[in-house]
């Protein structure tokens, strides 16, 4: 650890570069802005207190994001809102947006799946993601947004890798089904 002034300067500069990601991830993890603000603030205090444990300062962004996610998980546990608790299987069939849209005979003339992706706005994806059950949303955020490996998700949530995989499959299926519904409601696709 350097001297206090250097540490402050380093922390401030790194943190400033990371603020949008920290808030974005916190918002997706918690699902609401007030809780996201509390989470980011709590993580910042923890990170500052533990800055001395960060040996390679180039890894600050990853380290800081881990603190944010770990804080979220531990807060959920304290509040007994275990983010890992989800109903394992509702007997829901796997849903694929691609399978709904893809028309092989159109290969050379059109591409409905690409058309739909290009029409989706940020709000569509946010709505579909935010409506996932907490335990499933947390897994998607860790893998898709933060780039965790399945093993890292398993270690963070204290669940087997197989469970991470099955939750991810289920979450993706629900997410794609939600996007499909939203797209049809908004008239973004004419596919049946």
């Amino acid at each position: 650890m350097g001297n206090h002034v250097d540490d402050c300067r380093f922390f401030r500069a790194e943190f400033e570069r990371l603020t949008d990601r920290l808030y974005g991830i916190a918002l997706r993890l918690t699902g609401n802005s007030a809780a996201a603000e509390d989470l980011v603030s709590e993580a910042v205090v923890k990170a500052w207190r533990n800055l001395g444990q960060l040996n390679d300062r180039r890894s600050f962004p990853k380290w800081m994001l881990r603190i944010l996610t770990n804080t979220f998980v531990s807060d959920c546990r304290k509040a007994r809102q275990e983010p890992t608790i989800v109903i394992e299987d509702e007997g829901e069939e796997q849903f694929s947006l691609f399978e709904q849209l893809h028309q092989p005979f159109l290969l050379w003339w059109g591409n409905p799946e690409r058309d739909l992706i290009s029409k989706l706005v940020r709000e569509d994806v946010e709505r579909a993601l935010d409506n996932l059950p907490d335990g499933l949303r947390a897994v998607v955020v860790m893998v898709e947004i933060e780039g965790y490996s399945y093993a890292e998700v398993a270690a963070t949530l204290g669940i087997p890798i197989g469970t991470v995989r099955s939750r991810l499959n289920r979450a993706r299926s629900m997410l794609q089904r939600a996007l499909w519904r939203q797209a049809r409601e908004a008239g973004l696709t004419t596919a049946a």
């Binding site: 603000e37 893809h102 992706i117 898709e144 947004i145």
Partner: protein, 79 residues
């Protein structure tokens, strides 16, 4: 007919998201990549899933509201 190191579309699709997440062993990854070079349907699906992953990743970045910016500044000023 597929040769011993070739895999079918069904198998590619069942491993596709693990493949895109980098959660697959080297041998399977190579088999999938060879298949994607030859199969337009699976290639299109892989491109679609990649694009969707990209869109999901984008919603993980958001400018914080002024209230949080002020709160964080006050916090960091105390350090």
């Amino acid at each position: 007919m597929t040769s011993p190191d070739q895999i079918r579309c069904e198998e590619v699709i069942s491993h596709l998201l693990d493949y895109l997440d980098g959660e697959i062993d080297d041998e399977k990854r190579q088999q999938i990549e060879r298949h994607l070079q030859d199969c337009r349907g699976c290639f299109s699906r892989a491109e679609f899933e990649k694009e969707l992953k990209k869109r999901i990743k984008q919603v993980g970045t958001q400018k914080p509201p002024r209230s949080l910016q002020r709160r964080l500044k006050a916090l960091i000023d105390q350090f």
